[in-house]
């Protein structure tokens, strides 16, 4: 079949990102031709600032090398400007007369620096800050000249000024507003920034405007302010804004209004012509940062690929200044208005300023100066519209203020040196991450995880990695919204998938994938386990459990070890054992020469290093139930001695623990679930860090939920107090069932509660009595007739061939 022809005008960041996204999902659909008027292959424009500051070279910031175009069969024309589009014949023509036909056309022509219409603007040495050519001019001027003036105290202007100063020039910034970065900062933060930059050696003239430029022999030599003052100027950089580049489209009769007008599918008024990047006006807005362009690219690619899904609905952007040593962050509406509230922390001596603007219980804007640790957290809440009243009192102090392990208590990336370890699981240092972001052109957390392995294991350093991304990329970094697609096989997020499974009554994975138009024939290792769990939890007893969609541990009911052997942990309900049980375990350990016998942190015994072939025989000899130590499901119920023996005990915590563990045995869940029951507030069973923690008091039992003792220590929150053990069962069972039905796969209870709020949980479990009883009933129904997996395998050996090795 003849391929369709796609022509791309503009070899920049938005155009090429769209092509990359397209190649990922429809590699063979098009014959692609790209025109760019710069002489270079696509490079990372935002890194021109570090290049100017001498921190990087042009070679470092190339995103797509010429080889990449060749490998992907893309015809690349560099140094060629398209100056005509013939929409009837569907041909684009370049300045040199060459032309290409298209079936579909993608316009990604970016924007141009706005040049002040003042006398002298055409003199040599008067430039914008947009491309490699401009950087070359600046570097050359710095070698031969002394005085630079930057017009515009916005992000671009300040980065230019900082770079020129590092290159040895004497730099003055002229700014029309009362303070710097007025589009990103309020006055307080703007003034703090100015002070730090002045300390570095920059000079500022605020509330000033340029009158004219004076030159000698064609080159600029001075700048006259409107008030008549004169400044020496051998180089003038205008950084006062950008203008979308749409003249080409307009000349071709495509509807433009301050930009190429596009719909939510990134189509222009001519349906064959798409447009992305800074050249477009989407819902009346033109963006000047890369994060929105990447979102546009994704949507545009799905339409070019004929999938016809995905809508671009606009972006909320955030900003960082890429000047080494200066930490500022700004997002959303930071000015506020009559109907907003502000939370402010200002430490003028320490150089820290934090401001959150709140409206209707949601963050709508923030400005951070000096300490931007929590920038991406605030931004995420802003984008997700998360209610904040529950965390309001400690919002400004941050989410990582306690409990995170694995990186020596560090929680501010800026304060770390390059040699310090960020990811304790994979041994990745800050310097390695920064280098990869700059040189490999990484933009997202996922990119960094893949390329460096940082944050790819336990995830406790995710916040640090996000900070490093944000400070290296400036506004180019947008933290992932917490409501994202399950994986690359679908665009649906977890909630949507759950809703569809319920609405369509999907009972097995193939039907679910067909019903939701999965892109891949049988999913991947991320979505299949999630789907399997959603099916089981939505339609208990009716849906089909698919062992092949479970992680190995759940498939073989044992824990895989680094050398491919397994560990066996039998249940000891409530942590209680007996001499007979211990003797049996000892005999089994002897018989199978178990390399290590260990007491676990969950009050039971682990037999480690068992060969897979031996598992079934061992289970037969043990004749004990599986401890589910491998499961996303009920793990342990930790107990203390309680009133039967302990001199302080107020309640029989051991018995209640045993009862709970027996009642909820075999329960699958979005992630592991741990309970603990303590007999008095001394809390020897550590109920405060369990998914459900129960504490006996003289008058009954207190129930705490959402604790976690793992990667990030989280204290459980008080849910309620009840009188009887039966009520503990009902309340905690209902809580767990709602978690089972509504949380995302791989959410522990703490993560789920953080998203929906404790108020919601209380409403469902405490206020809605009918609902609570019904949820508890649903849990008991789901657990009815559950089979003990080890004895099942012992009884039906022939069904479990997977345990046998074939020898030849």
């Amino acid at each position: 079949m003849q391929k369709l022809k796609l022509v791309v005008v503009g070899n920049g960041m938005a155009g090429m990102r769209t092509v990359e996204e397209l190649l990922k999902i429809a590699p063979d659909l098009y014959e692609i031709t790209v025109y760019g008027d710069e002489p270079h292959p696509n490079y990372n424009r935002i890194m021109l600032s570090p290049v100017l500051a001498g921190e990087q070279t042009i070679a470092d910031i190339i995103l797509n090398s010429r080889e990449w175009y060749a490998e992907n069969n893309i015809t690349l024309h560099t140094g060629k400007r398209i100056n005509q589009i013939d929409r009837i014949r569907r041909v684009v023509t370049a300045e040199d007369g060459s032309s290409s036909e298209y079936d579909r056309l993608l316009l990604a022509t970016g924007s141009m620096p706005y040049i002040l219409p003042v006398p002298g603007k055409d003199l040599q040495g008067v430039i914008g800050f947009r491309d490699v050519k401009d950087v070359d001019t600046m570097l050359a001027s710095a070698k031969t000249h002394k005085h630079a003036v930057v017009i515009g105290g916005g992000l671009l202007g300040l980065e230019a000024a900082n770079g020129l100063m590092i290159q040895g020039m004497d730099v003055t910034v002229i700014h029309r507003n009362e303070w710097l970065l007025e589009k990103q900062l309020d006055k307080t933060a703007g003034n703090m920034l100015q002070k730090s930059l002045e300390a570095k050696g920059l000079k500022f003239l605020l509330k000033q405007e340029t009158g004219q430029l004076i030159g000698e022999q064609g080159r600029v030599t001075a700048l006259h302010l409107k008030d008549g003052r004169e400044l020496a100027a051998d180089l003038v950089v205008m950084a006062i804004g950008i203008r979308p580049n749409f003249a080409l489209a307009q000349a071709a009769g495509i509807h433009c209004h301050h930009g190429i007008v596009v719909s939510d599918t990134m189509q222009t008024y001519d349906p064959r012509v798409y447009a992305v990047g800074e050249c477009v006006a989407h819902r009346g807005i033109s963006y000047g940062l890369v994060a929105p362009l990447f979102e546009m690219a994704k949507v545009c690619a799905t339409h070019l690929a004929n999938f016809g899904i995905g809508l671009y609905k606009g972006s909320v952007t955030s900003t960082k200044l890429k000047v080494t040593g200066i930490d500022l962050f700004s997002a959303g509406d930071f000015r506020g208005g009559v109907d907003t509230e502000e939370i402010i922390l200002h430490d003028a001596v320490g150089g820290v300023y934090k401001k959150l603007v709140i409206k209707d219980d949601k963050i709508i804007g923030s400005v951070l100066y000096g300490d931007t640790t929590e920038g991406s957290w605030y931004f995420q809440m802003l984008r997700d519209g998360k209610p904040i009243h529950e965390i309001r009192d400690h919002l400004l102090f941050g989410q990582d203020s306690l409990g995170n392990t694995g990186h020596a208590g560090q929680n501010s990336a800026a304060a770390m040196t390059d040699a310090m370890e960020v990811c304790g699981c994979n041994g990745v240092c800050k310097g390695t991450i920064v280098k990869a972001i700059k040189e490999k052109g990484l933009f997202t957390l996922d990119d960094v995880k893949k390329q460096t392995k940082a944050a790819s294991s336990c995830g406790s350093c995710t916040g640090l990695v996000e900070q490093i991304l944000a400070s290296t990329l400036g506004g180019g970094y947008a933290p992932p919204s917490t409501s994202k697609a399950v994986c690359g096989c679908t665009d649906k997020n977890h909630e949507e998938v759950r809703a569809e499974i319920r609405a369509q009554k999907c009972l097995n994975i193939p039907d679910a994938m067909a019903g939701m138009e999965w892109r891949t024939p049988n999913g991947c290792a991320t979505c299949r386990p999630a789907l399997n769990y959603y099916l089981l939890s939505t339609w208990p007893h009716e849906s089909v459990d698919d062992p092949q969609s479970r992680f190995i541990n759940e498939r073989v009911h044992a824990n895989i070890q680094k050398d491919g052997t397994y560990s066996v942990i039998p249940r000891m309900y409530g942590g209680v054992t007996s001499p007979a049980q211990l003797r049996k375990i000892a005999d089994v350990a002897d018989k199978y020469a178990v390399p290590m016998v260990k007491l676990t942190g969950g009050q039971r015994i682990d037999l480690l290093g068992v060969k897979k072939e031996d598992l079934v025989d061992m289970w037969a000899d043990l004749d004990m139930p599986s401890g589910y130590a491998y499961s996303k499901g009920i793990r342990t119920v930790k107990t203390c001695v309680g009133s039967e023996f302990c001199r302080f005990g107020t309640q029989n915590s051991t018995q209640l623990g045993i009862d709970i563990e027996k009642a909820f045995d075999h329960m699958w869940a979005p992630h592991k679930v741990k309970f603990a029951v303590s007999g008095c507030p001394r809390n020897c069973a550590e109920s405060g860090i369990k998914d459900v923690g129960i504490i006996g008091v003289d008058s009954g039992w207190e129930i705490y939920v959402g604790g976690n003792g793992g990667i990030k220590t989280e204290a459980a929150q008080f849910l309620c107090k009840v009188k009887s053990a039966d009520e503990v069962m009902e309340y905690s069972g209902a809580f767990i069932q709602i978690y089972r039905e509504e949380a995302r796969y791989l959410d522990r209870t703490v993560h789920w509660i953080a998203r929906v709020g404790l108020d919601y949980v209380k409403q469902r479990v405490l206020e809605d009595e009918q609902g609570r009883k019904a949820a508890y009933e649903r849990l008991l129904y789901a657990l009815q007739g559950a089979v003990e997996p080890w004895s099942e395998r012992v009884k039906n050996r022939e069904k479990y061939k997977e345990f046998e090795t074939i020898t030849v």
Partner: protein, 109 residues
């Protein structure tokens, strides 16, 4: 000369699953091969050691023509044994053939 060995009944290899084949060689060395079956009933044989840290690939989740290693999740192609980018590494592949409901494995490599 090819050394084709009859290994197992096709039906004994679970779809989207794998079996482990252990060979005892003349020199007393052993080799573990993962025998995989994809959803569309193709059979692949690759060395049962992940190029990362020797994880037993046969225990991973199979999807498309790939397997995700059970230890740290590298994605290995069953077709050519290569790790999916950005990870780098390759594990050895062996030829297979199906005949009358049985799977044969070519052990020269």
């Amino acid at each position: 000369m090819s050394n084709w060995v009859k290994i197992a009944a096709f039906a004994d290899i679970p779809p989207l699953g794998a079996r482990v084949v252990r060979t005892k060689n003349a020199d007393n060395s052993t080799l573990e091969i993962g025998l995989f079956r994809t959803e569309d009933d193709r059979i692949f044989a690759i060395n049962n050691r992940c190029p990362h840290k020797a994880g037993p690939l046969s225990q991973g989740i199979v999807y498309g023509d790939k397997v995700a290693c059970p230890l740290h999740g590298w994605k290995i192609s069953l077709v050519d044994g290569k790790a999916e980018e950005p990870d780098v590494g390759t594990t050895a592949c062996f030829e297979t053939r199906q005949e009358n409901g049985f799977v044969f494995l070519c052990l020269d490599k």
